[in-house]
């Protein structure tokens, strides 16, 4: 039995943020992780809101939030707390010397690996796509051997987005990374972190890039959460330098993860890895303990509060073997889908409607405590955050990591 003020279950962005806010408030935090969340899969951008109702992009993230239906997590939590959550995150990144840019009053447009412009909100300084609008010369950099980053497709799409009045150039860089497998962005990021790799790349860029251009690369400017490679390259090329979002594995997702883990370590959060939580012990609407299953035996952890950040169907926080029996395995929180089986998914993947299955999840009160089918709070010291919440489709709305951040902040402030 380990005693804590709060146990956070889940090592994704919502879990790490909930642990960070709790620890900052002076709580004794134990973080139980099972897997590394979706950090390696997303680009570490904090999308807040771009498409609240249909496929039209709202004027600003905060205006989009106003258009949302009442059951959306943001609506329950409120704009004031959302602003506080954003400030907390921005200060945390500043403290870890990897400051993000952005605010809820303006979309930050990031360039994708396909050459489209994606609305986001809080982004690392290497991904501020607005720079493309200000520069005439755009240089698209690819790496020979790197999959999923094709500069010709990017050029075509960027021309479509930004107009053909700009000058587009493409450059392919040869790396001398040892043979053996397909190269990933992480391999190039490690290569650029060595003086040899950086010089080799710079030499090739210099011969192709005019000063005062904007140079767009895949996410390869290092794996550490600092801007040293980005700053050096800007200076050495006398250009603006930018990274795109891209397919997994994502360097910036890993930077964000390392940044948060570093913060948690400084704030004395106890971390138990590979800890699969299987059930809880509840008396009189109060959770007393939760139990993990290790290969050898079960272990019990006591705490005053519990934050559930186990994710949705992908992360295993919600499970469904037979429609429509949806299970939340740790606290047995009821999760329901109101429609018929054929209404579960919208078969038109790129339609102007949210996906019904994506909005399935746990209903909570304003403090993020789960509700039963009658809408009553039945677990007074349990708080639910991130992807296992109901009422939002992060993919459609482009609120990925945003709802996680805001709900995690609200839960940790409600303890």
């Amino acid at each position: 039995m380990i005693n804590s003020d709060v146990i956070v279950i889940g090592g994704g962005f919502a879990g790490l943020m909930a642990a960070a806010v709790s620890a900052k408030r002076g709580k004794k935090v134990t973080l139980l992780t099972y897997g590394s969340g979706s950090f390696p899969l997303n680009s570490g951008l904090i999308d807040i809101m771009a498409r609240p109702t249909d496929d039209a992009v709202c004027a600003t993230p905060v205006e989009g939030i106003n258009e949302l239906p009442a059951e959306h997590p943001y609506k329950k939590i409120g704009t004031k707390i959302l602003e506080d959550a954003v400030s907390f995150f921005m200060e945390l990144c500043e403290e870890e010397k990897y400051p993000y840019s952005g605010s809820i009053d303006k979309h930050q447009w990031a360039v994708t690996a396909l050459g489209t412009m994606k609305p986001s909100c809080l982004v690392p300084k290497t991904m501020l796509g607005d720079l493309c609008l200000k520069k005439q010369e755009i240089v698209l950099v690819g790496f020979n051997g790197l999959k999923d980053h094709y500069v010709n497709i990017m050029e075509e799409n960027l021309e479509h987005c930004l107009g053909n009045k700009k000058n587009y150039t493409t450059v392919m860089i040869d790396t001398d990374i040892e043979d053996g497998r397909d190269i990933t962005a992480l391999d190039i990021a490690r290569w650029l972190s060595t003086p040899h790799g950086y010089e080799t790349c710079l030499r090739q860029l210099r011969s192709a890039v005019k000063a005062n251009s904007v140079v767009i690369l895949p996410q390869v400017l290092g794996l550490k959460h600092d801007y040293s490679i980005w700053e050096a390259m800007k200076k050495d090329l006398e250009c603006d330098v930018m990274e795109t979002t891209g397919l997994p594995p994502s360097a910036n997702g890993l930077r964000l993860r390392n940044l948060l883990l570093n913060y948690l370590k400084k704030h004395n959060v106890t971390m138990v890895e590979n800890a699969k939580v299987i059930h809880s012990t509840v008396q009189n609407n109060i959770c007393r303990s939760i139990t993990t299953k290790t290969a050898a035996r079960e272990r019990t952890y006591q705490s005053d509060h519990f934050i559930l950040a186990t994710g949705g169907f992908y992360g295993g926080g919600l499970q469904m073997e037979n429609f429509p029996e949806i299970k939340e395995p740790i606290f047995n929180i009821p999760v329901q889908f109101e429609g018929k089986a054929e209404e579960w998914a919208n078969e038109k993947l790129f339609s102007n409607q949210k996906q019904p299955f994506a909005e399935v999840g746990i209903h909570t009160d304003q403090q993020m405590r789960p509700l039963d089918v009658e809408g009553n709070c039945f677990l007074n010291n349990v708080f639910v955050v991130g992807r296992n919440l109901s009422g939002y489709d992060f993919c459609f709305e482009q609120s990925g990591n945003g709802v996680a951040l805001v709900s995690a902040y609200q839960a940790a402030m409600s303890l």
Binding site: S36, K265, N274, A296
Partner: protein, 404 residues
């Protein structure tokens, strides 16, 4: 396809190829020769029925288990790799190098039957290293071979006069502590006695089989598992906890036996297997851990072995040591040390192994700590080799803290 809990071998089908394992695999980061965890064990397990080809890069998996820690879907990635490797060696010959690295226990047991056996074994290894003979057969000449103790732990244990207590634990010393680092075993007996436990050692225990599994001698490993499991069952039937001071041994007994082999009693036995610090921390939580410390303390830096991190029990040594006055322990938190049992002893893996450990070595060298603490014997060897700083087992620090 079984459920995750019932059939770890069937977990390949739970792999969604999400790439998390590739981002945390230290070997993938160190060399392009390894295609990455998801592309060997899990992918091969599913494709073998179609094409029985070997995947060359499987040789590069060190079984460090960071893939298992990062997997969101509960896939036993590293064990699938080891099963595939075992499968490969059913139809391919083993190099002599692997035979030597896998069978250290047999060799020293033979040597100890001769007068001054351990002395000549050490001398032989040293001469072999310096004359390039070890390099010739594929063992890294840059790396010092583990030195055999002049008296094994078992030999020394026989002459310890313990105070008898009704509470007893059974100690599984493992090859490294028994043959190379008996001081850890002696410190363990001391710590258990201080906490009013009597230590039983079953002299019939043999190597847990970890070095055999990672070199693809699965049948021999299974024979070891069968023998140890039967011996352990006799003790667990009487309710005795089984303790180890080696995280690779405890991982084998708790988890890998059950993942790799279909033997009776594995799950029942596992419930009684504890890492020594895990057991002592449980005692502390029952308010039964002796805290009469009087040692002079010190500054340490702690390295959590990957084979401990994967056990899902956190870092019990760090929590225990926080109870000792005057001792300051910083958590290195710098990932895998790189050696992974006998992996880093292989000539063609040595550089990878040192590259993986770089971050840890730097963290240790930058720290003001005078010694490193780590629960794993080969991690300690690697740390001393890579950083030049002395490394000890947490039980040795506790034992010293009890001494007036």
């Amino acid at each position: 396809m079984g459920t995750l809990e019932e059939n770890p071998k069937g977990t390949a089908d739970y792999c969604t190829a999400c790439t998390s394992c590739i981002t945390t695999c230290p070997v993938t980061a160190a060399t392009s020769k390894f295609r990455g965890p998801k592309l060997v064990g899990p992918a091969q397990s599913r494709l073998n029925f179609a094409e029985p080809d070997a995947e060359e890069s499987l040789e590069y998996c060190s079984n460090c288990k960071n893939c298992d820690i990062s997997c969101p879907s509960g896939v036993a990635v590293s064990t699938l790799n080891m099963l595939q490797r075992g499968e490969y060696y059913r139809s391919h010959p083993h190099p002599l190098r692997d035979h030597i690295l896998a069978h250290g226990e047999q060799m020293i047991k033979l040597a100890r039957k001769l007068p001054f056996g351990s002395f000549f074994a050490n001398l032989g290894a040293d001469i072999g290293r310096k004359t390039g003979m070890l390099k010739m057969i594929g063992i890294a000449s840059e790396r010092p071979m583990p030195q055999y103790a002049s008296k094994s732990f078992l030999e020394q244990f026989r002459s310890i006069k313990q105070t008898a207590y009704p509470n007893k634990v059974v100690f599984f010393p493992g090859c490294f502590i028994n043959e190379n680092d008996p001081d850890v075993g002696i410190a363990f007996v001391n710590v258990m006695q201080q906490n009013h436990y009597e230590v039983i050692v079953d002299e019939n225990f043999i190597c847990c089989g970890s070095p055999l599994v990672v070199t693809g001698y699965l049948d021999e490993a299974e024979a070891n598992a069968r023998k140890n499991t039967a011996l352990i069952r006799k003790w667990t039937e009487q309710g005795y906890p089984i303790l180890t001071c080696c995280t690779s041994c405890s991982l084998m007994l708790k988890q890998e036996y059950a993942e790799l082999f279909d033997l009776p009693d594995l799950h029942e036995n596992a419930k009684f297997v504890y890492d020594a610090c895990e057991f002592l921390l449980d005692l502390h939580e029952k308010n039964r851990f002796d805290q009469k410390f009087s040692g002079k303390g010190g500054n340490y830096i702690y390295h959590a072995p990957c084979h401990l991190r994967v056990q899902g029990i956190g870092t019990p040594a760090l929590e225990l040591l926080s109870l000792v006055p005057n001792i300051v322990v910083e958590n290195a938190d710098a990932g895998c040390c790189g050696i992974s049992g006998n992996y880093g002893f292989k000539e063609d893996k040595y550089e990878i192994s040192m590259q993986v450990g770089q971050e840890l070595f730097c963290r240790i060298k930058d720290s003001s700590a005078s010694k490193v603490i780590s629960d794993c014997g080969t991690c300690r060897m690697q740390i001393e080799h890579g950083s030049g700083v002395k490394a000890v087992h947490p039980i040795e620090v506790l034992s010293a803290a009890y001494q007036a």
